[in-house]
C-alpha cells in the first residue's frame, strides 16, 4: 500500500480550477451581457437615472410595443391552454380511436418553426393576395377578405398553432401519471364523469396546465418571427421586433441602444417573474398524485362522437400542419409567382436546385447555419457537461454561485442575448467581432446553454455516487473513474444535448436577425430577409429545404434515442 500525504485544506486544487472555469464560462457568455443591458438601461452618462428609464418606457412607440407583447402573449396563452388541454384530455381520458397515433401527431407542430408557419399563413390569408382570401372573394364576389392574418388575432392564432404542444405535453404527462384511483374514488362517492372532470381531474392537473401556460407566455412575449412576418405590415410591433427595428434602422445610435436596453430589461424582468411563478407553482402547488398499483384510467365513452371527434383532430392537424407545409413546398416550386400554384406547368424543382447550388445567398446561409449549429452544439455540450458535473456531483466551496449562474440561461430571452452580445463584443471592451460569424456563435452558446445544462444534469443525476465510489474502491483513480464510469454513462445525455442544440440552431431567427452581416446570414435570416425583399418564391423554397433538414434531424434523434433506450 503506497502512501500519499495530502493536506486537508489543500488550497487551489483541481476541483477549484474546474469550478473557476465553469463560473467564467457562464459569466462571460451570459451574466456579463445581461449586466451590460441593465447597466445601459439604468445609467445615463455613468450616472444612475431611473427617470430616463421611465421616460423611454412611456414613449408611445415603446409603450405600444410593450402592450402588444403582453396582449399577444395573453391571447396566445389562453388559446394554447384551451387547445392543448382539450386535446390532452381527448387522447388520455376518452376512447378516441388511434389514440397513441393521434398523440404523436399532436407533437408534430413542435417541428415546424413558427415563423415558417407564419410565412405560409401570410400566403394563405394575407388580406388581398392570400390564396384562401382570394378564393373567398372570387367565390362570393366580395372585396372583404375572409380573415385578415395581419392582426392581433391572426398573430395569436398562428402562435397557438405551433406553441400549444407545450401545454399538451405537460397535461398529457400529468394525466398519464395521475393515480386513477383519485378519479375512481370520486366515482364511487357518487360523481359522474363530467363532475369528476370538473371537480377532480382539472383541478389536479392545474399546476401542469399553469406551468405549460407560463412557458408559452414566456416564449410568446420574447417571440420574434411570427410578429415580424405578420405584424410589421400593419405596424404591429412587440418587444423583440421593436428592438430589432431600432438596432437595424438607426445603425446602433445611442438613443436606439437605450430604447433597446430598456425594452430588454422589461423582458428580463417579465421572464424572471414568469420563471419564479412557475417554480413556485411547481414546488408548492404540485400535488403528489402519483399512485401505487396502476390500472387503466377510466375512459369517457364518446359513443357517437368518436369518429366526428377523430375527424375534427385530423382536420385540425391537416389545417395547421399539412396545409401550410404543402403551400410552402408548392410556392417554393412555382416558376411564375402570381400564377396558380396548382398548375403543374407552373411547378418544378428548379428553384430548389438554384438555391441549393447556385444562389450564393441561400447557399451561404445553409452552410452558415449548419456550421454554426455544429460548432455551438459541440462547445455547449462540453461546457454543459462540465458545469453540470460541478453542480450535480462535486462538493466544492463556492458552488452556490455556479448554481445561481446556472439558472440564468433559462430566463434570458433570445433578443436580450443578442442585444447583450452586441454591447459586449462590439469593441467597447477590446474585442470587436461584430459583423462576423463569431458573434453569432457566441450568442448561440449563451442561448442554448440552458438546454445543455438540463439534458446533462438529468443524465448526471442518474449516475449515482456509489457507482463512482465503487470504482474508486476497485482501485481506479478519480480520473480513471471519470473515464471508465461517468463519461460512458452520461454519453446519451450529451448526445441528446447535442441535438437539442443543433436542431433549433438550424432554424434560429430571433438572435441571428440582430447580428447578421451580409455574408453571415443563417437559414432563418435568409428566409426572413428574402421575404422582406419580395423574393417570396426563393424564401419559401429555402423554408422548404429547412423543413426537410429539420425532419431528417428529428428522425435521426428518434432513431438514436430509441437505440439508447433499448
Amino acid at each position: 500500500m503506497a502512501k500519499n500525504t495530502i493536506k486537508k485544506d489543500s488550497g487551489f486544487g483541481v476541483a477549484q480550477l474546474i469550478l473557476f472555469i465553469s463560473i467564467a464560462i457562464l459569466v462571460i457568455f451570459v451574466a456579463w451581457p445581461v449586466l451590460l443591458i441593465l447597466f445601459n438601461a439604468f445609467f445615463v452618462e455613468g450616472k444612475f437615472n431611473s427617470l430616463d428609464f421611465y421616460n423611454v418606457l412611456t414613449e408611445p412607440e415603446t409603450f405600444q410595443a410593450l402592450k402588444n407583447s403582453f396582449v399577444i402573449a395573453c391571447m396566445t396563452t389562453v388559446g394554447s391552454v384551451i387547445v392543448g388541454t382539450f386535446f390532452a384530455w381527448l387522447v388520455t381520458r376518452t376512447d378516441l380511436p388511434y389514440k397513441t397515433f393521434m398523440k404523436s401527431l399532436f407533437l408534430v407542430p413542435f417541428m415546424l418553426p413558427s415563423f415558417i408557419g407564419a410565412l405560409a399563413w401570410k400566403m394563405l390569408l394575407s388580406p388581398h393576395s392570400g390564396y384562401i382570401n382570394k378564393m373567398w372573394m372570387e367565390m362570393f364576389n366580395t372585396t372583404e377578405p375572409l380573415f385578415n392574418i395581419y392582426s392581433y388575432a391572426g398573430i395569436a392564432l398562428v402562435e397557438v398553432m405551433y406553441l400549444f404542444p407545450f401545454v399538451f405535453i405537460q397535461v398529457c404527462g400529468a394525466l398519464e401519471r395521475m393515480d386513477p384511483t383519485l378519479e375512481e374514488s370520486a366515482r364511487i362517492s357518487g360523481a359522474g364523469l363530467l363532475t369528476i372532470t370538473r371537480k377532480i381531474t382539472i383541478p389536479l392537473v392545474m399546476p401542469s396546465i399553469m406551468s405549460g401556460a407560463l412557458l408559452i407566455m414566456l416564449y410568446s412575449m420574447a417571440h420574434f418571427g411570427t410578429v415580424a412576418v405578420l405584424g410589421i405590415e400593419q405596424g404591429i410591433y412587440n418587444i423583440p421586433t421593436l428592438i430589432y427595428e431600432k438596432i437595424h434602422q438607426s445603425a446602433g445610435s445611442f438613443a436606439s441602444i437605450r430604447t433597446g436596453t430598456v425594452l430588454a430589461t422589461v423582458l428580463i424582468a417579465s421572464a424572471a417573474l414568469i420563471i419564479w411563478t412557475q417554480q413556485k407553482i411547481l414546488s408548492k402547488g404540485h400535488y403528489q398524485i402519483i399512485g401505487g398499483k396502476s390500472f387503466r384510467p377510466m375512459e369517457l365513452k364518446l359513443r357517437g362522437l368518436r369518429y366526428p371527434l377523430l375527424f375534427f383532430c385530423l382536420a385540425y392537424i391537416g389545417f395547421t400542419i399539412v396545409l401550410p407545409t404543402v403551400v410552402i413546398f408548392l410556392v417554393g416550386g412555382v416558376q411564375t409567382y402570381g400564377l396558380s400554384i396548382l398548375d403543374p406547368n407552373n411547378l418544378s424543382l428548379d428553384n430548389y436546385k438554384y438555391i441549393l447550388f447556385e444562389y450564393d445567398v441561400t447557399r451561404d446561409a445553409i452552410f452558415n447555419s449548419v456550421t454554426l449549429g455544429l460548432a455551438a452544439a459541440f462547445i455547449t455540450m462540453f461546457a454543459g457537461v462540465m458545469i453540470s458535473y460541478v453542480i450535480v456531483k462535486m462538493k466544492v466551496k463556492g458552488k452556490g454561485i455556479l448554481e445561481f449562474l446556472g439558472m440564468l440561461p433559462f430566463s434570458v430571452p433570445g433578443s436580450v442575448i443578442a442585444l447583450g452580445v452586441i454591447l459586449a463584443w462590439s469593441g467597447a471592451y477590446g474585442i470587436n467581432i461584430y459583423n462576423t460569424v463569431w458573434i453569432i456563435l457566441v450568442s448561440y452558446i449563451a442561448r442554448y446553454m440552458a438546454f445543455s445544462l438540463k439534458a446533462n444534469s438529468a443524465a448526471l443525476e442518474q449516475v449515482h455516487d456509489s457507482l463512482m465510489e465503487a470504482s474508486r474502491s476497485c482501485g481506479a483513480s478519480m480520473w480513471q473513474s471519470l473515464k471508465d464510469i461517468v463519461i460512458p454513462l452520461v454519453k446519451p445525455g450529451m448526445i441528446s444535448a447535442f441535438f437539442l442544440i443543433f436542431l433549433p440552431a438550424l432554424r434560429e431567427l430571433t438572435v441571428s436577425i440582430m447580428l447578421y452581416a451580409p455574408t453571415t446570414r443563417t437559414i432563418g435570416v435568409a428566409i426572413y430577409t428574402l421575404n422582406e425583399d419580395g423574393e417570396t418564391v426563393m424564401s419559401t423554397a429555402l423554408a422548404g429545404i429547412a423543413l426537410i433538414l429539420i425532419v431528417l434531424g428529428q428522425m435521426l434523434i428518434n432513431h438514436l434515442t430509441k437505440k439508447a433506450s433499448e
Binding site: T181, R187, Y287
Partner: protein, 356 residues
C-alpha cells in the same frame, strides 16, 4: 342470509381468464376477505363488484338489486352503487381540505347543508380526524390519509365497504393499529366488508370468512381457523405461513422421505388419498416440528446442516434422506448442533398429492 351475491362471475382480458366462474355469497355485516398473491384476480373481482370493470359473464347482486349482468345487458355505474371504497394509494384529493374530502360524496347527493355538516363531522369524529378538519391531507402521514379515505367512505353510510389492500402502504405497526380501527368501525356502523389483501395474517385477524384465490380460481372459502386447521390443498397451505413440502415415496408399502433409508414411523397416519402415488408431499410448518429423542417412536432421523440464532427463534436446516426440512424452535430450546444427528417430531403433518 346472503346479501352480496356473485353468480358465475367471469372476467376475461383477451385470452387470459382473470377470474373464473366465481360464486360467492356474503352476509350482511360480514367481513369477507379475498386473499391471494398478486395476479390471482382478487382485485379484479373487487373492481367488478365496484363497477370499474365489466363482467365477461355472470351477475353481481346486492340485496335485491342487480348491479351487473352482461347477459341481461344490465350495468349500474359505480356512482349509483352506493358503496364505500378505500384504495391502497389512499386516493384522497390533495386540492381539497380534509373536511371537503369527506363532505364531497354528501354534496353530490344534494343533502341539506346542515345534514352534510353533521354527517361529515360524525365521520371525522369516528376516525379521530375532527381536529384536523381544516388541514390539507398532504400534511397527514400515510395512516392519517387512509383515515380520511375511510371517513369519506363512511360518510354516505354505505351498506357495503370495499377495501383494496388499504393497509399495504403503511408501516407495520400502523398497519396493526388501523386493522383494529377498521374492525371497530365495522362493529359501530354494521356495514359488510369485502377486503382484498395478500397478507394472510391481516386476513386472518380481520375476517369472518376468507376466500383464497389462485390464478382466478377460488381455492377455499372458510372461517380463518378452519383454513388454518384444514387447508384444502398445497397452495392454500403454502399461502398461510412458512412451509416445508417434503417429497415422499412408497417403498415396500411403507412411506419414506425421499432418499431416506428408514420408513416413516407407524404412529404417523397417512391418508388414503396419497396411497398409490409415485411421489407425494408431506407439508409441515417449521414451528410445528420439534426435536425429540432417539427413543421417540414417532421420531424421524435427520442431520442438522445449518443452525442460526435469530434472537427469538433458532432456525435449523435439517437433512432427511435427500430432502431439506426447515425447523424453528424457541430460543430457550437448546437443540442439536450443526452436524449432529437429530430426531424430528412432526406435530401437525399434512399430506398432499404433488399436483394438488
Amino acid at each position: 342470509m346472503s346479501y352480496i351475491r356473485l353468480v358465475n362471475v367471469t372476467k376475461k382480458f383477451g385470452d387470459v381468464t382473470a377470474v373464473d366462474n366465481l360464486n360467492i355469497e356474503i352476509g350482511k355485516g360480514e367481513c369477507f376477505s379475498m386473499l391471494g398473491p398478486s395476479g390471482c384476480g382478487k382485485t379484479t373481482t373487487l373492481r367488478m363488484v365496484a363497477g370499474f370493470e365489466d363482467l365477461s359473464d355472470g351477475e353481481v347482486w346486492v340485496g335485491d338489486r342487480l348491479l351487473s349482468s352482461p347477459k341481461k345487458r344490465h350495468y349500474t355505474p359505480p356512482e349509483h352503487r352506493n358503496f364505500g371504497m378505500v384504495f391502497q394509494a389512499f386516493a384522497v384529493w390533495p386540492h381539497m381540505n380534509i373536511y371537503e374530502n369527506v363532505a364531497f360524496p354528501l354534496r353530490l347527493r344534494n343533502l341539506p347543508s346542515a345534514e352534510i355538516d353533521k354527517r361529515t363531522k360524525d365521520a371525522l369524529t369516528s376516525t379521530n380526524l375532527l381536529k384536523y378538519a381544516d388541514q390539507s391531507p398532504a400534511d397527514l402521514s400515510g395512516g392519517g390519509k387512509q383515515r380520511v379515505a375511510l371517513a369519506r367512505a363512511l360518510a354516505i353510510n354505505p351498506d357495503v365497504m370495499l377495501l383494496d389492500e388499504p393497509l399495504s402502504s403503511l408501516d407495520p405497526h400502523l398497519r396493526e393499529e388501523m386493522r383494529f380501527e377498521i374492525k371497530d368501525l365495522q362493529r359501530k356502523y354494521g356495514f359488510s366488508i369485502i377486503y382484498v389483501t395478500h397478507d394472510q395474517s391481516e386476513a386472518m385477524a380481520l375476517s369472518d370468512r376468507i376466500m383464497v384465490m389462485k390464478l382466478g380460481v377460488m381455492q377455499q372459502i372458510a372461517a380463518p381457523l378452519d383454513i388454518y386447521n384444514n387447508p384444502v390443498n398445497k397452495f392454500v397451505f403454502s399461502f398461510i405461513g412458512v412451509s416445508n413440502f417434503t417429497d415422499m415415496v412408497w417403498q415396500n408399502g411403507q412411506a419414506h422421505i425421499k432418499g431416506a433409508n428408514t420408513a416413516m414411523p407407524n404412529g404417523i397416519i397417512i391418508p388414503d388419498k396419497v396411497k398409490g402415488e409415485e411421489i407425494f408431499n408431506l407439508a409441515s410448518r417449521p414451528t410445528e416440528i420439534t426435536f425429540t429423542s432417539s427413543t421417540d417412536p414417532n421420531g424421524v432421523q435427520g442431520v442438522v446442516m445449518r443452525k442460526s440464532f435469530l434472537g427469538e427463534i433458532i432456525d435449523y436446516l435439517v437433512q432427511v434422506g435427500d430432502q431439506e426440512i426447515r425447523v424453528q424452535t424457541g430460543r430457550r430450546d437448546l437443540g442439536p448442533a450443526i452436524g449432529e444427528v437429530c430426531y424430528l417430531n412432526f406435530m401437525r403433518p399434512f399430506w398432499y398429492r404433488v399436483d394438488e
